[in-house]
């Protein structure tokens, strides 16, 4: 490589990093119909993944689990679930986990740097941090949270995020919970025009269901809009 070639190569690296760092930033509102370009991500889902079709405008009713085969423990948990508790103050402000809130029909803001992405979710004021600095996950005994511990990397123009340490929480908003051992893998990709953000979530949680489950979601970019505070008020249940 010539000296000029080396110099150009060195210059190109930060330019590429900068282009990736700015790609997802902005305000994104849910788009209920993902569109055909999302097929690129669908094609990368693991073979046999069971599709959970409740993102955005969808919703699963009581006893509907998208065909997932629940473990005996999970079936017992669902059978014992008391839906009447959902209308109480004690339940009203329980935060959802990243396995549910990403598909909720509320907007989000994304802030992005080369070492970090922050997802500010309107739903329940959740804030998600995705480390892009090459660090490893927390040790097994590390703290769990509703956001989990997320590390990401780029595969071309796709952001791939791996999340562990997610606290047990509702999985489908219908009495079925995922466990503390849920493993979440996500792929995010912009549409060709950059105005739609697509994502797939892939779930593995052998404690509560067999095989692999997946969701597809999409958001439309809106300029000049903001996430509003959620400030959950438990008096709803009084």
């Amino acid at each position: 490589m010539t000296r000029h070639g080396l110099l150009l190569g060195l210059l190109w690296l930060p330019i590429t990093a900068f282009a990736q760092a700015t790609a997802f930033e902005g305000f994104w509102t849910p788009q209920f119909a993902p569109g055909t370009e999302s097929q690129v991500l669908i094609d990368k889902l693991p073979e046999g993944a069971v599709f959970i079709n409740d993102a955005g405008a969808g919703e699963l009713g009581e006893g509907e689990f998208s065909g997932l085969q629940l473990s005996a423990e999970a079936r017992k948990q669902v059978e014992d679930y008391d839906f009447s508790t959902e209308l109480t103050s004690e339940f009203a402000c329980i935060q959802p986990s990243v396995a549910l809130y990403m598909q909720a029909p509320f907007p989000m803001e994304i802030y992005q740097d080369t070492k970090l992405l922050v997802f500010r979710m309107e739903y329940f004021d959740m804030t998600r941090v995705i480390f892009m600095d090459g660090r490893q996950h927390l040790p097994a005994e590390g703290p769990h949270s509703k956001n989990g511990h997320s590390v990401g990397h780029w595969e071309g123009d796709e952001l791939v995020v791996d999340t562990t340490h997610i606290s047990a929480a509702s999985f489908m908003n219908n009495g079925f919970n995922h466990s503390d051992n849920l493993h979440l893998t996500e792929r995010f990709k912009l549409s060709s025009e950059g105005t739609t953000l697509f994502a797939t979530q892939v779930y593995e949680d052998p404690d509560v269901f067999q095989g692999i489950a997946a969701r597809l979601m999409a958001w439309r970019k809106v300029e000049g809009e903001y996430v509003y505070p959620y400030e959950c008020d438990p008096s709803f249940g009084e």
Binding site: Q31, F32, A33, G35, I42, D43, L45, E47, G48, A49, V50, F51, I52, N53, D54, G56, A57, G58, E59, L60, G61, E62, E64, S66, G67, F83, E86, L87, F91, A92, C93, I94, P96, A104, P105, F106, E122, F124, N173, N174, G175, A214, Y228, Y230, E231, C232, D233, S235, F236
Partner: protein
Amino acid sequence: MRKPFRLYVCVFASVLVAPFALGHHSFAVHFVADKTVEVKGTVESFRFSNPHGILTFNTVDASGATVAWRAETNSPNVLRRRGWDRDALKPGDQITVTGFPARDGTSYMRISKVIFADGHELVGQAAPPTPEEEKD
């Protein structure tokens, strides 16, 4: 090998999409999605906070007895973008409320629409856009 996944999409998409998902608790579990009720009454109170606003209002039934209703809204964050605010309903307002009734048969509903005495309306639980509308 992608075709198996596409098959799953086709099978489940046709049976599992309930009308709306706009709350912290399940709409599908707690409300009847394919039926609405319309109730005329007088506002008692209105609280506009997440996860759901709560409207209480009184109506009079056929026997002349007063019936107390409780109606929840979508998230105020969603409704704020549709023109609602915390002063949208005031005690004493004469209103007609349309909504999805509670499955347990109590005087409880998810608000679909509120019509005021002067004719103006507030839209609550709206139908989701069709894929065609999404493209507009």
